[in-house]
Symmetry: C2
Subunit: 480 residues, 2 copies
C-alpha cells in the first residue's frame, strides 16, 4: 500500500504522485511574527512536520518552504499586525520581526519540529511581488485604485473552487472589509497604499505602499518550488480567503495549475472552545512548556489526526504523558540491556514481530498520515517487545540493536519523539556514575548488616526516580 | 572617566558622544553565509559583542544591526560565494543561505554572543539598493556600462579618507579586478549584470542583475540606523575597500557624514600565520568547540585587546582555561556559602574592595574597551574576595550576595562569561541530590567503622571531581 493524502481541492483521499518522481516540493503558510507562538501554532507545525518527516522516511527528496510573514498581515480592523506589535513594544518593526522570528524558531525547536529548508521573509521579496502584481494588471485580473491594487475576483472563473464558496455567497455571508475604491466587496488587495504613519513602505509603480498578505505566499512558493508544486499546507482557517486568493493569483496569471495537493489541518480547541485572547484561554508555547514537557505536547498532538480539531485539557495532556512514558520505558529497557547482552543472532520470532510492527505503522501513516493509528501500532509493538524481554530467550546484542534501531526510526525519525539529548535527560552522565557509587555504598552497608541505612539509601533513590533491583548477579537500576 | 573609543577615521581615541544622547546606533558587517563560521568570526563577533554589552551596561539604549550577506559577495576570481557554495552542496542558493545562517547563529549562541537587534538580509533589500544606485547615477557619482553600474571614485574627492589610500596608490598597488567597461580600475560595482547561469537575479532599470557587496551595508545601515549613525564596526581587513566604498556611496549621494566612529578589530592568527584553507590551519568554530569549551575560547579572545591581532595556540587556550577556572572558582565558593551564611550587614571593608574592583574594571573598559586590563582587574578583585573569605569575618548573606551580584554584572553581563545554564553544568540538579545521599551513606559506613569502604567512596567521588570536606558540623562538598 502506498501513500494516500486527503486533497482538500478534490475533497477526497488520493494516491500521492509528485510532479517530479522522487522529489516533493512543499509549502506551508508560516507565522506572522508579531507575537509569541501559541499552542495552535504548535499543533499546526507539528502536523506538517510529520508530513515532512514521513515523506523523507519514504525516500523522497523534499524541499520544504515555510514563509515568515513580516509585513502585510492586516487585521479586520485594517491595522497591520506587525505595526501594532511594534507600537506595543516600542520597537522598530524589523526589531519586532527579528525578536519574534527568533522566539518562533526557539519554540519550534523545543517541539523537535525540523526547520524548513527555506524560510523566506515577505519583506525579502518585494520586487518579485511587484512584478507579479504588474502581470496581473497587464492580463486584466487586477486594477489600480487610488494607489492600491486589487485582484478582480470576477475575472477568474474558478474563484471559490477550493473553499466551495461561490461569489454570491461570499458577498452576503462573509464579513468583508468594504473599501469604496474596490469594484466588488470580495476583491482583495494585492498592494496597499501606505498611509503616512505606515513605517513599512516601498516604492511601486502605484506609489508608496506595501504588499497584501495573500500575494506573498503565491510569489514565494512559486519562486522556490516552481509551478505546479506538490503540497501546499496550512490551517483550515486559511482555506478561505487566503488559499483561495493564492490560487486565483497564481492560476489567473500563469494559466497553469498552482498546487497538486492542498492539505489543511484542523484547529486546536481548549475545552471545546477556540483559543482567543478575549476568552482568557490563550496559551503561548512558552507558557505551555512551563507546565508540560514539549515532547508530551508533541505526543498529545500526534494522538489525534491532523485534519481533525484537537481538544485540549490538562487531563488529556496528563494521559499523553503517561502514554509517552510507556513507550519510552520500553526503549530504555532495550537500551539498558544492549551493553551486557551476549552476542548472537536475532531470533526469527523477534524479526517477525518487528516486521509486522513496522508494517502496521507504515500502513497507518500511508493512510493520510494517520498518526493516532500509527501510535496504536507502536503501543502494540511495545507490548510485544516487553513480552519478548520478559520471556528471556534469545535476548542478544544483535536482537536488542534491531529493536533499538526500529524504535529510533519510527518514534524518533518519523514521529520526532526522541530529540537529541533525551538520553542525557534520562540518565545524566555524572548521575549514572553516582548511582553506581551509591549501589556500591549500599552493598557495603549491607555487608556490615546496617540494613536500616542501606534501605534508607534505596528508598531515597526511589524518591528521586531511581529504582534498584537486586538479583543474585548484583544490583541494577532503572529510572522511572 | 568616561568612555573613549579609538576611531579609525580620526586615527586616535576620542571621547564617545553619541549622535542622540542616551542612544547608540551601531552597525557591524556580518557574515557571508556560504560556509561555516571559523575562529576568526568568533574573535570578530566576540569583540563587537563586548562593545554592545558594555554600551548597554553604561545605560545606553543600543540598536545593534548586523547584516547577513546572502548575495553579491564576489571573490577575486569573479565568482559569487553563495553560488559557489550552492553548487558545492547541490542546494538552491536560498537553502544554502538558510542552512549557514542557522549554523552561524548556533555557533554565536554557543559563544554567548548576544543576538543583534536586527539581522537584515541583503536579498531582503533589493528595492532600497536599486533606489540608492539610481540616486548615485542621478547625482553623477555612478554610471551604467553594459548592464552593470559602477561607482565613479573620481567623483568623490574624499575617497580614501578612512584607509589613507590615495587613488594613485590604489591604482598601482592593489589587485583590482579590471573590467574593460569600467572607466577606472578602482571604480567598483554597485550592480552587476547577471550572466545566464547566475540563479540569484533581479530586474533593474539596467537589466537583470544582482547588487554589489558594498552597497548592501550602506543601504541597510542607513535604513535602520539613520544618517549619521554612531558606530560602524568590522574587521580591519574590511577597511579597504569595503568600508571606504561604503563611505563613498553614502556621503557622495547624501552630502552628509555617514558614521561618527569607525571601529576595526584585529585578525585572528594561528601560530603567527593568517588562517587560510590553503595553509591547512583553518578551524571552524564547530571543530573548535569539540576541543575547547566555548567559554574558554571567549575568555581567550577577551584576554587580548580587540584592535590587536590575536595569535592562537593550544598552549594559550589551555592557559585561558586555567584562568577562567580561577575566576569561576571564586564565584562558586561565594555562591555555595550564600544559603548557609548568617544574615547581617556587609562589612565596610568588603564594600570598599568591591567598589575599587568595579572602578578598576570600568576604567579599563572605558579605555577603548580594554578587556585584558578589565580581566586583570577581575583577577585582582577575585584575590581580594578569596582573602576575605579565608579570614572568616563578616561573611554574611548580604555580603556574599553583594559579591555575587557584582561578579554577575562584570563577568556575566559585560564579559558574557556566565551563560545561563552554567550553574547546572557545574552542579547538576540530580547530581547534587545523589552526592548528598553518598555523603549520608559514607557517614553510615563510618559509624559502622567500615572505614575502607567509606574512604573508597570519598576517593571515587574525588575522581569524578567531587571533593568532600569533613568538619565538626558535617561534610560539605565542592566540585573541581
Amino acid at each position: 500500500m502506498s501513500l494516500e493524502i486527503y486533497n482538500s481541492l478534490a475533497r477526497q483521499k488520493e494516491p500521492f504522485e509528485p510532479v517530479e518522481p522522487g522529489r516533493v516540493h512543499m509549502y506551508v503558510c508560516g507565522p506572522t511574527v508579531y507575537n509569541d507562538a501559541h499552542l495552535g501554532h504548535g499543533k499546526t507545525y507539528i502536523n506538517f512536520d510529520i508530513i515532512f518527516r514521513y515523506l523523507r522516511y519514504l525516500g523522497f527528496k523534499v524541499r520544504y518552504v515555510q514563509n515568515i510573514t513580516d509585513v502585510g498581515h492586516i487585521l479586520d480592523t485594517g491595522e497591520d499586525r506587525i505595526l501594532l506589535g511594534a507600537a506595543r513594544e516600542q520597537m522598530h518593526p524589523m526589531e519586532l520581526v527579528e525578536t519574534y522570528t527568533r522566539r518562533y524558531f526557539r519554540d519550534m525547536d523545543r517541539l523537535n519540529i525540523l526547520r524548513p529548508d527555506i524560510s523566506p521573509r515577505a519583506t525579502g521579496h518585494i520586487p518579485e511581488m511587484l512584478e507579479w502584481i504588474a502581470n496581473l494588471i497587464k492580463t486584466g485580473h487586477a486594477y489600480e485604485a487610488n494607489g492600491s491594487v486589487y485582484f478582480d475576483v470576477g475575472s477568474y472563473a474558478e474563484y471559490g473552487k477550493l473553499s466551495g464558496r461561490r461569489l454570491e455567497q461570499a458577498q452576503s455571508g462573509t464579513r468583508v472589509q468594504i473599501a469604496e475604491e474596490k469594484r466588488r466587496p470580495e476583491d482583495f488587495a494585492l498592494w496597499k497604499k501606505a498611509e503616512p504613519e505606515h513605517i513599512m513602505r516601498w516604492n511601486s509603480p502605484w506609489g508608496e505602499g506595501f504588499p497584501g498578505w495573500h500575494i506573498e505566499c503565491t510569489v514565494m512558493s512559486v519562486k522556490y518550488l516552481g509551478l505546479p508544486f506538490d503540497i501546499h499546507g496550512g490551517g483550515v482557517e486559511n482555506k478561505f480567503p487566503h488559499h483561495e486568493c493564492e490560487i486565483a493569483q497564481a492560476e489567473a496569471v500563469t494559466g497553469n495549475s498552482f498546487v497538486k495537493y492542498w492539505v489543511h489541518n484542523g484547529m486546536l480547541m481548549i475545552r471545546g472552545e477556540e483559543m482567543h485572547k478575549s476568552l482568557g484561554n490563550f496559551i503561548t508555547l512558552e507558557e505551555a512548556f512551563e507546565r508540560w514537557d514539549p515532547m508530551v505536547i508533541r505526543f498529545f498532538v500526534l494522538q489525534s489526526h491532523y485534519r481533525g480539531p484537537l481538544d485540549m485539557s490538562e487531563e488529556a495532556l496528563d494521559g499523553a504523558a503517561r502514554g509517552l512514558q510507556r513507550l519510552r520505558s520500553t526503549l530504555r529497557a532495550v537500551r539498558r540491556r544492549i551493553q551486557s547482552a551476549p552476542p548472537g543472532e536475532s531470533p526469527a520470532e523477534l524479526t517477525t514481530l518487528l516486521e509486522s510492527g513496522r508494517e502496521a505503522f507504515e500502513a497507518s501513516m500511508n493512510d493520510d498520515f494517520n498518526t493516532p493509528n500509527a501510535i496504536a501500532a507502536l503501543f502494540e509493538l511495545s507490548r510485544g517487545i516487553n513480552a519478548w524481554l520478559d520471556q528471556g530467550q534469545g535476548i542478544t546484542q544483535e536482537a536488542l540493536e534491531a529493536v533499538d534501531s526500529l524504535l529510533e526510526r519510527l518514534m524518533g525519525e518519523v514521529l520526532g519523539l526522541l530529540p537529541e539529548g533525551l538520553e542525557d535527560e534520562m540518565e545524566p552522565g555524572l548521575g549514572r556514575e553516582l548511582i553506581e557509587l551509591l549501589i556500591q555504598a549500599r552493598s557495603a552497608l549491607r555487608e556490615q548488616r546496617a540494613f536500616e541505612a542501606a534501605d534508607a539509601i534505596r528508598d531515597q533513590l526511589a524518591e528521586l526516580g531511581v529504582q534498584l533491583q537486586d538479583s543474585p548477579e548484583g544490583t541494577t537500576w532503572t529510572m522511572a
